[in-house]
């Protein structure tokens, strides 16, 4: 287990270092001078020079990279050029929207996929199974931002049950906040629920063919008892891995959905930063998102190894 842990931690650190190098390089090779890029075409040379000094662009590249990284590690994400506020503060405000959105979407994904997957597997080959599988094909094919627009059209514009977009802030009350997040979360969850349903179904079907289910049935357990007591519990192991991966996807995938609903989350922060050419914000926020995705994947790996001892010995 210790060897496995060392291997995973090394790979985590390596991933983070490479990710930071890639992001730094991409922003670094912006055609032309970043300061000129940020100030636009009409900027005066002395203004550009002043910004270069302020951003530390006159320092050598390697030194700038290490300054950026050591800042990130200490929670100092730099100062936004456009807003003149610390990026860390802006990020903290936005996470308060993006993280609950991802969690809510994950809860909806699981709430749909578990019953649907279990139902399909236990009715294999019958009309119910075919219906569920057909629905998942459709769920995978629907672009979530389009589904979001349809939801807005029906529930916000026609039925007027919820607002079409925006976020009142958590200060307005938890219920109001959650109401604003419910449609975005459903839209975000749909394709993921379709994928997870298929994973749940196939994992459960594998288990139902195992010898221990036959033994359980031979002991006198009914089909239903064998399914719930033995098959579902064992089928959950691979499903949990996928859930972990999906969470990181929901966190990053919220970017597009936040655009549809005008939610002030991380995604909109990136877009505002891109349109105002605020490279410091873009660089740090992208790094933060990548780091959280890599971090979640790492946690999933560890959890998986803790549950399934075969994985530990294999590596």
């Amino acid at each position: 287990m210790i060897r496995y842990m060392i291997g995973r931690v090394t790979s985590l650190c390596l991933s983070l270092v490479v990710a930071s190098l890639v992001i730094f390089t991409v922003v670094e090779i912006v055609p032309g001078d970043p300061a000129a890029y940020m100030l636009g075409v009409n900027a005066r040379p002395d203004t550009i020079a002043a910004l270069r000094t302020e951003l530390g662009l006159d320092l050598p590249t390697v030194q700038r990279y290490f300054a950026w990284i050591s800042g990130l590690v200490q929670g100092d994400f730099g100062i936004s050029y456009t807003y003149r506020t610390p990026v860390a503060q802006m990020v903290a405000d936005r996470i308060a929207v993006s993280l609950p959105l991802a969690l809510l979407a994950l809860a909806i994904t699981v709430a749909i996929a578990f019953p649907a997957g279990i139902y399909a597997a236990s009715h294999r080959g019958r009309a119910g199974d075919l219906g569920v599988m057909g629905a998942t094909q459709l769920g995978i094919a629907v672009p979530n931002f389009w589904f979001a627009m349809i939801l807005v059209l029906i529930f916000a514009i026609k039925l007027r049950w919820v607002s079409a977009g925006g976020f009142p802030g958590w200060n307005a009350g938890v219920l109001k906040g959650l109401t604003a997040l419910i449609l975005p979360a459903i839209a975000l969850a749909l394709p993921q629920a379709a994928i997870l349903t298929r994973v749940m179904r196939s994992s459960l079907l594998d288990m139902l063919n195992e010898d221990f289910i036959r033994t359980a049935r031979a002991k006198g357990l009914s089909k239903r008892q064998a399914l719930w007591r033995h098959a579902v519990r064992n089928a959950l192991i691979p499903v949990l891995t996928i859930i972990g991966l999906q969470f990181s996807f929901l966190l990053a995938g919220g970017i597009v959905i936040e655009q549809v609903f005008f939610l002030p989350g991380m995604g909109r922060l990136i877009f505002q930063a891109i349109s105002s050419r605020d490279l410091i914000v873009v660089e740090s926020v992208v790094m933060l998102l990548v780091a959280s995705v890599i971090g979640v994947n790492f946690a999933v790996d560890l959890a998986y190894a803790a549950v399934d001892p075969r994985l530990r010995t294999r590596s």
Partner: protein
């Protein structure tokens, strides 16, 4: 198939020219003259969908091309030199790309290098490389221990020649199936990038861009938002079903199991 033919026909004919604006005829519901109605600038939606199909298919196809062009050779090399440092380096590199949230990186690439179809192709294509490398390596490995490969080695063929002449034709089926899957994912990714304004730029028509334009108009003219979305759904659904069908057709084990 309908959308592919629509895209092909659009090269020499569309019902209307999409660069001609006809503001007085804007947001018309479907009529005999405009089968699917017109958009906010009076452009014919059938013509826009045909031109959009061209963009979506071209971007997704080229992105798959990047994936195959770089991923398959890498996978073949990794399998031919299995267990070596090179194999290890290629596979760890793949894991790294997999760990990146693709959408975020695609946004970063298009944001820094400018929005446009070419950068969208590169951004989507990069994430196809590890997929093809992994599938190729996995499939190729199972062939390296087979007798006919051993015979080719005894005959003095180099690993590179064996990979190209014997392994590649045997794993082609698998690569075709994977290509249809990546192609449909590419269509979705292109739509998402264009929707947020980082894909193909106007006046190039694209389904994602049409949806972005339609968003504020959805309440007064729902068809403007429905049609491009349905085009994406049907294309992706068709490709996924085609992928499933091809897999069943090309995989002898499934064929045998069915008969």
């Amino acid at each position: 198939m309908v959308f592919v033919s629509g895209a092909l026909i659009s090269f020499f004919w569309t019902p209307y020219n999409i660069e001609t604006l006809a503001i007085p005829q804007r947001l018309q519901t479907p009529t005999a003259a405009h089968w699917l109605g017109t958009d906010q600038l009076g452009r014919d939606i059938v013509s826009m969908i045909m031109m959009g199909a061209r963009t979506s298919i071209a971007v997704a196809l080229l992105a798959v091309g990047i994936g195959i062009g770089l991923g398959v050779p890498l996978g073949l090399i990794a399998a031919a030199r299995r267990g070596s440092m090179l194999d290890e380096a290629i596979m760890r590199g793949n894991d790294l790309i997999f760990a990146f949230p693709s959408l975020v990186i695609a946004i970063l690439i298009t944001a820094v290098f400018g929005a446009g179809a070419t950068n969208a192709i590169i951004a989507i294509g990069i994430f196809n490389i590890p997929v093809f490398a992994r599938v190729t390596r996995g499939a190729a490995l199972s062939f390296w221990s087979r007798d006919f490969i051993l015979a080719a080695r005894v005959a003095g063929k180099s690993p590179a020649r064996i990979s190209i002449e014997h392994i590649l034709p045997n794993i082609a089926n698998l690569l075709i199936v994977q290509s249809t899957i990546q192609f449909s994912l590419g269509i979705l990714a292109e739509a998402a990038l264009s929707y947020i304004g980082l894909g193909a730029q106007p006046p190039t028509a694209s389904w994602g861009r049409m949806l972005a334009d339609a968003q504020t108009l959805a309440s007064i003219a729902p068809h403007v938002a429905l049609v491009p979305g349905l085009a994406i759904v049907f294309t992706v659904l068709g490709l996924n079903l085609m992928g499933d069908g091809l897999r069943d057709l090309l995989d002898p084990r499934i064929r045998v199991a069915r008969t």
